[in-house]
């Protein structure tokens, strides 16, 4: 049994201690906005926040989030109202969209730390998140827009 706070709700699941948090969130709890891309911490599609830090949930054993605060894309805002979500729509970022929830969670960490990042800082922060459709330039534009419009 592992207990933690997920999107401000207390959850307890009977997953094995070693089960990656990704599958706890997707299958045991049933929130599917967090995606499986590589299972090896290489692509960032599974990015969630653990105690405010962006982490790759495919690499986090369930046991290690005992008592932690976990936030997924579903907890970022109830209604697409987070500045990044609004900017993502305004810049028409997503194509296939599969990596985008991870991208947004990673970008949210950046803006929380640095509300006015420059382009280099955005690239450096986001470089670990792969987008196979190549929406990188629109991601940069959306982060800049969110930073500007708040």
């Amino acid at each position: 049994m592992v207990s933690f706070t997920l999107n401000e709700k207390r959850v307890s699941v009977s997953a094995d201690q070693a089960t990656p948090l990704l599958w706890v969130i997707r299958d045991h709890v049933g929130l599917t906005g967090t995606k499986y891309g590589c299972g090896a911490g290489l692509c960032g599609a599974c990015t969630v926040h653990i105690n405010g830090k962006a982490q790759r949930s495919c690499q986090i054993p369930a046991a290690s989030v005992e008592g932690a605060k976990v936030v997924t894309i579903e907890g970022l805002s109830p209604d697409n109202s987070h500045p990044l979500q609004k900017a993502w729509i305004a810049e028409q970022v997503a194509q296939c969209g599969y990596c985008q929830t991870g991208q947004i969670m990673k970008a949210a960490e950046l803006l929380a730390e640095n509300p006015k990042p420059n382009r280099d800082q955005i690239v450096q922060h986001m470089d670990g998140n792969i987008c196979r459709c190549g929406t990188y330039h629109r991601i940069i534009a959306a982060v800049e827009r969110a930073s500007r419009e708040g």
Binding site: A45, C96, M126, D127
Partner: protein, 721 residues
Amino acid sequence: MTINIKTPELSRRQVLAGIGGLSFYVAMGANGLRLTSAAAATDNAQKITPWVRIAPNGAITILTAGAEMGQGSMTSLPLIVAEEMDADWSKVTLEWAPAEVETYGYRAGGGRSMSITGSRAVQGYFADLRNVGAQVRKVLLINAAEKWGVDPASLKTEPSVVINPANGQRLSYGEIAGFGKIPEQLPTVDKSELKPKEQFRLIGKSIQRYDIPAKVNGSAQYSIDVRLPDMVYATTLHSPVHEGEPESWNDDAVKAMPGVVATVKLAKGVAVVAERFEQATAARDALKVVWKKSKAAGYNSERALMEDYVKVHADPAAKRTPVDTKGDANASFASAAKLYKAEYRSDYGYHAQMEPLNAVARFNQAGDHVEVWDGTQAPDRCRADVAKTLGFKLEQVTVNQCYMGGGFGRRSLSDYTGEAALVAREVRRPVKLIWTREEDLAHGAFRPQSFQCLEAATDASGKVAGWRHCVVGDGGGLVTGGMKIPYYAVANQQIEQRGVSHGIRLKHWRAVAHVFNVFAIESFVDEMAAQEGMDPIEFRIQRMAMIPRAAKCFETVARMCDWKAKRPDGRALGISISERSGSLGAGVAEISLDQNAGKIRVHKVWLAVDGGIIVTPDAARANIESGILYGLSSVLHERVTIKDGVVQQSNFHDYNLMRMSDLPELMQVSFIDRDAPPSGLGEIGNPFIAAAVANGFYKLTGKRLRHMPFTPERVKEALKA
């Protein structure tokens, strides 16, 4: 605006029940898709879903046959209907068209297809959907005219409203749907009655894509997100040597593992089924399978490409398959004033779509009907693949379309969906089958590797009179696409393939063969221009008989990048052109080079595209930019190698994809304004880029890159040459 594609449990017939208003059925006739009567539609063996429905409250539902993998055609296809209907787009809801190819397919080579491949969605449906939309509008006009006792020809429409200009009377489409009827004699539409381009309200305008809001909050449903009651999870281990059949495995040990429900023998692999996915993957990792020997055993891709293909090319007895022949190439070479020759190579490529392949399957109680959830580029093919795997008839299979986390040609083959169905039948429970990333790569279906030899002959005036292009590679049409050069009217051409066969799984890959054939063709043209000391654009115009449409693309892109202007120190431009799915695109790359690291950096890319009418310009631009970066990624990084029959790469640490830090600072795509039917755009971005980069590299260093991808090792090798 909502999209009714999220709830897997939602039955379309339930949705339809109880909805009043007007339903417009469509059937394929001799002249294309046309409205048909409800009676004729329901007379069909297959019950069909109306393509357009208008509810008395004004809500409009339009089916979309545009399988969505990020390219945007789920939005652009119904937009074409809405344009000719003169519908208020804000009142439109989309639903996936069912996987009934005879009803919902586009015309393709005498038959029908729902396959969203080769950038064909808008191209394939454009004319038919305009007609359907215009017919719907006429039905609305007829109903309003009857009510008002006037001639329908005297009426006009504005978005979702019929207007009588004589007295200002108005009837909304919803109001008409409340009382209207579909006339027995369905109106026909003459081509001249379609909207002229200048009157478009939706086409060519800034319309946002439907799917994006759901893709920023995690609610967009991919097949991997489908959850059914009592569902179990499966994952697979396929033969590490492609196409090997499983002979035996440690079944008892695997079945004794926590949560494991079953193991299932597949044609070319073993599936393990468990209560949880993490249990299934643990069991997969514990599998020890004895595989039967298959053709690919012992295959070494690098040896084949570097040695064997050269021998096949040199072998006069090798079987040659002509791809295009014009004039008398041999004669033009015999009488040549000057000869040119060059060779190029390209490695295997993997799709690397972000969502690993997966599908969900569920049987009915009787076991004679299966429902599958798949993000598929070809719902009709998915249905056929699943039926074939199970020995079912088509009507025993229902396909529920989902979003695709990338397709790039891989998702027009539903081998994994057939596996999910087989497993579900075996375990008698709903199954979600997911290939791990490692499986997705090891058991990939690749863009083939290839060897190219190009030769040209010029006449006394210096014009290219003879052209020979031979490709050596596996996969038939998968290595010959893009070999033809419709943009150069060279009089004598001999274009051919020499086939080899390795038993490696191959598949379409965003523009497939265009990628390496255009690399070879456009590098070769650049080599000739350089040898003649001519500007590459001038050379094409003066010596290659370039057609005017192509010249226009070059003129446009030259203006965009200020072609003749001096570049900053350490930078150079390379130029190239490609044709794909009826579109033409001439592009330029500005590059620099870190000589010590052997790393090429692409700073700027400009592309001028002639693609006819552009239905959704922003989405089209995004799609082309995506093509450019997909192409750049494969040009700079991506390679699959096979040793002793086994794929050497396993995940994104050794199959490198382009990341944000590789992004060019500028990408500019420009559309040439031409009032012609739309042609394909999803794959016009990637074929030109390899040669544009390689030609820029030559300009910068005086050296040629002849083997894709241009990895640091190859760049350093080229510099030493």
